[in-house]
């Protein structure tokens, strides 16, 4: 019986891989949870698109400040040492390759590392992109965090994205509730699988060719 990771376990797994001193942007939704799981002793500086470095935890109830929010428009706090700046500077940090990691949610990731996470392409869908395309092209490393399968049981790791792309060949590593997978020039390398899930079963569920990892990350 495989032990799928829940959302918090996925966040903790991503957090484990973010080293001391990193500048990190956490995307809206699932990636935001990573902030709660960063190891206590590590100094990691969180960036928010709307002009913050050093994003701190949620304020206590009643302490919210409408002028201090994150990219998801939720109230946050600022750590000592944090800074505010305008949007063009904020995206210079992103596009100018100053951020070490962007952790992004996804609808689909292709075997080439293409990312689709902004638009379902549906006829009546109103598109919204935000900073996703800038983060996908700009961060030094793009980490994707998503459920491995859709609610219908289809793999979100695909040969070719059927949804419109956010960025081509931009994903470095995929964290799912079933596995950690590196995207490399020669294909997808499985770094680890959850307890009780074999490589063969993972490959069957994923539906695209996977490689066994050479060395553990």
């Amino acid at each position: 019986m495989m032990k799928k990771l829940d959302r918090n376990q996925m966040a903790a797994r991503v957090a484990r891989d973010i080293p001391e001193g990193s500048y990190v942007n956490l995307g809206i939704g699932l990636p935001t949870l990573v902030a709660d799981h960063l190891p206590k002793g590590r100094e990691i500086i969180l960036h928010s698109e709307n002009g913050v470095l050093g994003v701190g935890p949620k304020p206590a109830p009643g302490e919210e400040d409408e002028d201090l929010i994150n990219a998801g428009k939720e109230p946050v706090t600022l750590l000592s040492g944090g800074a505010y700046f305008h949007h063009a500077d904020s995206f210079a940090m992103i596009r100018g390759r100053h951020l070490d990691f962007a952790v992004l949610g996804a609808f689909q990731v292709s075997i080439a590392g293409d990312l689709a996470n902004w638009h379902t392409g549906g006829a009546d869908a109103i598109p919204a992109v935000g900073g996703a395309m800038d983060l996908a092209m700009g961060a030094k490393k793009v980490l994707v965090m998503m459920e491995h399968l859709t609610k219908k049981g289809e793999s979100k790791i695909v040969a070719r994205c059927s949804y419109p792309l956010t960025g081509a060949r931009c994903v470095n590593r995929i964290y799912t509730d079933l596995a950690v997978i590196d995207v490399k020039a020669d294909g997808l390398h499985v770094v680890e699988t959850v307890e009780g899930l074999s490589f063969e079963e993972l490959e069957r569920l994923t539906g695209v060719p996977l490689k066994r990892f050479a060395t553990a990350a």
Binding site: E66, Y84, F91, R95, D124, V129, M133
Partner: protein, 227 residues
Amino acid sequence: MIDKSFASAEAALADIPDGATIMIGGFGNAGMPALLIEALIAQGARELTIVNNNAGNADTGLAALIAAKRVRRILCSFPRQADSWHFDRAYRAGEIELELVPQGTLAERIRAAGAGIGAFYTPTAFGTLLAEGKETRRIADRDYVLEYPIHADYALIKADRADRWGNLVYRKTARNFAPIMAAAARCTVVQVREIVELGALDPEAVVTPGIFVKRVVKVASSLKKAA
């Protein structure tokens, strides 16, 4: 004597014509110049092109301007939100044209306008729907998309404090697009919490120098929760 302060938002916005392009500061409600938008609705200008990160939240501010059917076209990065119902309805009814721009490209296009840049190449959106029909170029080993500046007739922004020369300081993340919009518009109108004496703002901490600002309106303190 230079004095950019205006007695009221109505006076500061009186000359906005129909068809104007107006940048509106704010990211969601942080930095949204609520008083100026209310005055713009009352002023009555129509067929506006609006530049903002979003397309309005709930029923006030930019959402109210859209609900009043004053907006013909909007350039933004993130229109669809849980509470963007006025935009959603207008968009689905075909009453409003949307130019969706990645957030960093939006910021840089605004910055470029203020800085006198004719166009620039960005890697963002290369190979995606949002680059369709745009000129691209490979420089060294990367692919780029050509993007043009966004100029505006007016920018309506919110700052924390100003002096009569129009120097501005902001508060926390309410800064967001305001400094670059101030530079990109021909006439920048600012609502502030306080207008202070010349010299009271630390010159090392001024974020927007007054050269980018034409008009300053002080908001009554009772409006501080208005969104």
